[in-house]
Point group: C2
Chain length 226, copies 2
């Protein structure tokens, strides 16, 4: 499948929330669950999406919007799985904005999608400040990054609906303390579940899949009732 590339320059910030509401409205009409995937560069966002497609594609129809400053590396990988994918290139902007997602939505076969992942630009700071119209924010913290990150980058950890601790297969090789991380989160965000997993080995993926399926079902039910 050929990958579509949209090159989009930064928009005026003030309009972002209104655009996000428009995206939300469209997604509510279609019954699509949109998940904003947030993390540092190299935390394993694309690997998580690929492993989730593999694990859930027989139960949910998945679509992907890839956000990067440059390149189509991630969209090319997703495209090989056969799911619909759009690459947004932000041309320097350090985060996705709602108007970029709006253009991507217009280029996706929405009637064939139940669950839409938006992989944001790798950035633990700026991406937390821009809503896209997503139902949920899911952030990844990878084991090699260390367990002290909530203290240094608090907004992302406050804003997220779920924390995935990724690359748990390499826990024996790093000083990451899951208990210390869980304690650090208590002061910032009591509601977000913390799910340790490894996209490489598959360990811990089931709770993540179950959470996604439950949220996708809720979204469908809300749409059919309205």
């Amino acid at each position: 499948m050929a990958v579509k590339v949209l090159t989009i320059k930064e928009n005026i910030l003030g309009a972002n929330e209104e655009r996000a509401r428009q995206n939300q409205k469209l997604l509510a009409q279609k019954g699509i669950l949109m998940i904003n995937i947030l993390a540092s560069p190299g935390a394993g966002k694309t690997s998580l999406i690929l492993a989730t497609i593999k694990g859930l594609k027989d139960r949910l129809r998945i679509g992907v919007i890839e956000g990067d400053i440059a390149s189509t590396i991630d969209a090319d990988k997703v495209s090989q799985t056969g799911v619909p994918v759009i690459q947004i290139n932000t041309a320097g902007t350090c985060h996705l904005e709602a108007h970029m997602v709006e253009k991507a939505l217009a280029n996706l076969p929405l009637h064939k999608i139940d669950l839409l992942f938006v992989e944001n630009v790798g950035n633990l700071v700026c991406t937390a400040e821009f809503v896209l119209g997503e139902d949920k924010k899911v952030m990844l913290l990878s084991v090699p990054e260390g367990d002290d990150k909530p203290f240094k980058y608090p907004l992302m950890f406050i804003e997220t609906d779920v924390v995935l601790i990724t690359k748990c297969d390499v826990l024996p090789h790093f000083d990451f303390n899951v208990q210390a991380f869980t304690e650090a989160m208590k002061g910032l965000n009591e509601k977000a579940p913390i799910l340790p997993l490894s996209a490489r080995t598959g360990d811990g993926m089931k709770p993540w899949f179950d959470w996604l399926e439950a949220e996708a079902r809720k979204k469908k039910n809300a749409t059919s009732k309205s």
Copy 2:
């Protein structure tokens, strides 16, 4: 040693280059080499600085400016080594700016420093856009982040004077291909040396120390001649 904390809000961007020139002038007068340390969150910036202090403190007088959105975790660690350190808290801003460094310089014993590290906020995008008055930019790419990052975050790789591939002790556990990374850099930046190392084991640290010592010597010589 008690850690000083400066909380500084974002300044108007246009003034940044002029402020950077003022910092540069001050550092030239004092013969201090200032290194801007840039990387994603959790790439090992603080560990590198700590290992460099340990390895070089008998040969160079080192000082550190720590940049974080919040917390004094990194400055507390540096402080335990006995070198002078200032923590800048940016209060949400995703990068350091020259006026923040200017205030930190005013709070450091500059007559006792040959080599000054500025650890920037963990961010592979925005920090590349703001000069601080540094002599050199040194970026870290950690093995767990992956070798494809130059394609996705090109500006940082174009702007840097040196690339340190950090956490090389875990190379056996990741798919990072040093040769592929070196090839990727050829299109972006032919001049920056690429130094693979591990701050944890000490492997590969000597070329980094040698580079720092040579640059610090050049800076001193330029000052004594002027």
